[in-house]
């Protein structure tokens, strides 16, 4: 076991180098098209991965304290909503990612997400398994069903996102990358699951539905595509401004590095939130 542990530790830098380099094989994959094989082709064998010892814990209380320490400007009502949500299932102040889905019905915000990205250091790209709603196998049996079968060392990025608050669409997300190696039913993971990320993990967006973020440029409204709901029907809309100074992550309120210097007079141009109304 000790030898295996040493071997895995020794593999980490190699994987890091490989993940930074192996995709540079220009001939085979320098393309903007998705030329990746599908999941079945790339990982012909699938299995269920037990993840009870990979729990991605997060200490929300410490996190919020750190945010306040760094001068956080997040509204108290949103913090309270996240705290209430967290308290539903926290154990000793920590949040376990696969319990995120439990009892979220009483909240009006957008639901949580748990994602697993499996990748090997090659140019074929990762494979994602995303859960957007309660999954019995995941939440109760701590098992990822139909995961790629790991026959050699993989990089697995576990990430989770809380629900969005109903007021300002704030959510916390956190992730951790692991080196996973396993044969048969035994999987070895190279580090503990507790994460300690600072305030960037506070993220904001829009409620979804017919709300989106956008900027007026030369008389036109440029929408921010990752705030636009897929449920919107194609057609013409009349935008009505809901909030022209929405709450954004503290990280986005820093000065901007440009031309070799940090310019504190320069800020990210935050978009406004609009409601798209049918004409």
């Amino acid at each position: 076991m000790k030898a295996l542990s040493i071997l895995l530790r020794s593999m980490c830098p190699v994987l890091a180098i490989a993940s930074a380099f192996l995709f540079l094989t220009a001939g085979s994959c320098s393309s903007s098209n998705d030329n990746r094989p599908n999941l079945t082709d790339k990982y012909p064998n699938k299995w269920d991965i037990p993840i009870d010892y990979v729990s991605l814990r997060y200490d929300l209380g410490t996190f919020i304290n750190n945010c306040m320490l760094y001068g956080s400007t997040y509204p108290a009502a949103d913090i309270q909503e996240l705290t209430t949500y967290n308290n539903l299932f926290s154990t000793a102040g920590t949040l376990n990612f696969y319990t995120l889905f439990v009892n979220t019905d009483r909240f009006t915000g957008v639901g949580p997400t748990v994602k697993f990205i499996f990748s090997v250091p090659d140019c074929k790209g990762p494979v994602s398994i995303t859960y957007n709603s309660f999954d019995d196998k995941l939440c109760n049996e701590n098992t990822i069903v139909n995961a790629p079968k790991i026959t050699k060392t993989h990089i697995v990025d576990f990430s989770a996102r809380t629900l969005k608050t109903s007021q300002n669409n704030i959510y916390i997300k956190w992730n951790k990358e692991y080196t996973v190696s396993g044969v048969g039913s035994y999987i070895t993971i190279d580090r503990q699951g507790t994460v300690d990320y600072p305030s960037y993990m506070f993220t904001t967006g829009t409620k979804g539905g017919n709300q989106a973020a956008g900027r007026i440029v030369d008389g036109h409204l440029e929408l921010v595509e990752n705030t636009l709901s897929r449920d919107l029907v194609i057609g013409d809309y009349h935008p009505v401004i809901i909030n022209d100074t929405p709450v954004v992550s503290d990280v986005l309120q820093q000065g901007v590095n440009m031309s070799g210097a940090l310019n504190n007079d320069l800020n990210w141009d935050r978009p406004m939130i609009v409601e798209l109304q049918t004409r």
Partner: protein
């Protein structure tokens, strides 16, 4: 008394007019959307993006892509700008078939780096013994292996292990600015130069779909890389950020090293010495001058 009364009325009128003007000014500054019509079509929605692109020639680093049954080397890395350097020697028989006896685990005991059997169980760890190898030539001796490309000794290869690389700009000084905002134009990177490193420095921009504003791109990845001279400064082309959206949470790898591939019978070995530093940052495409600024 009458004078005071008129004075009070006068002040009230002036204040009212002033407030009214102020409100008008605020209303005028507020963006107007009454005349705007926005068309939502299939191109309006979030699209997954997959880009892997090498910008220019990466020189000797191409050797890293040759197939190898095992990798032997020394590595120095830092995945957290305020964290400690991780330095180690490693021997990694990647997917080694059982028939290739040369890359069995126990073969590692015979490997010598600068004359030391670093993987032998009897070897005791010495503080900084691996760290001190950086910035110098390092001799790898693998009994029975004949170098195919170059090498100073008949049973091994000598590589130049560059000085441990550290990104100095964009700079991180505390947890508060751990994830700096970086504008995509005139993106300047600075690091500690190593004039003895002839292989240049690889700079890699990586994005895996994470966003700081709005929804993550669920299944996207973009890798842009380039090789630059090891002068300690580089201004990245805008094309190094092609496809990466505003407020994307990105990583920048700055890596330098040396690598040789060697053969023994039907076994391919890769020997390398590398050092890399990683900076996580938020890519910004839309900027404005703050209200306090005169610009």
């Amino acid at each position: 008394m009458k004078t005071s009364y008129f004075l009070f009325i006068f002040v009230l009128v002036i204040a009212t007019i002033s407030c009214s003007k102020s409100r008008e000014t605020n209303e005028m500054m507020k963006p107007q959307t009454e005349d705007i019509v926005v068309n939502i079509n299939n191109n309006s929605f979030l699209k997954n993006i997959h880009v892997t692109k090498v910008h220019g020639n990466i020189g000797k680093y191409e050797n890293f892509f040759l197939d190898a049954d095992a990798t032997i080397g020394i590595s120095s890395s830092r995945y957290y700008p305020l964290g400690e350097e991780t330095v180690m020697a490693f021997y990694d028989p990647i997917d080694a078939p059982a028939t290739k006896s040369a890359v069995k685990d126990d073969h590692a005991y015979e490997i010598q780096i600068n004359g030391r059997n670093v993987f032998a169980p009897s070897t005791k760890a010495e503080d900084n013994s691996i760290t001190s190898m950086f910035g110098k030539n390092v001799a790898f001796a693998i009994p029975g292996i004949i170098p195919t490309t170059k090498g100073g000794e008949s049973n091994g290869v000598t590589l130049y292990a560059p000085e441990i690389v550290r990104i100095s700009f964009p700079s991180i000084s505390s947890e508060m600015n751990r994830y700096p905002l970086c504008y995509y134009k005139e993106f300047e990177v600075r690091w500690n130069a190593d004039t003895a490193n002839a292989n240049g420095v690889i700079i890699l921009i990586k994005w895996d779909g994470a966003m700081v504003f709005g929804e993550d791109y669920p299944d996207s990845y973009i890798y842009h890389s380039t090789c630059v001279s090891d002068t300690g400064i580089a201004v990245l082309s805008e094309s190094m950020f092609d496809g990466i959206p505003d407020t994307a949470f990105c990583s920048m790898f700055v890596l330098r090293g040396d690598v040789e591939n060697m053969e023994l019978d039907d076994t391919n070995l890769r020997v390398l010495a590398e050092t890399h530093d990683v900076l996580e940052f938020v890519l910004i495409r839309n900027v404005e001058y703050g209200l306090d600024s005169n610009q």
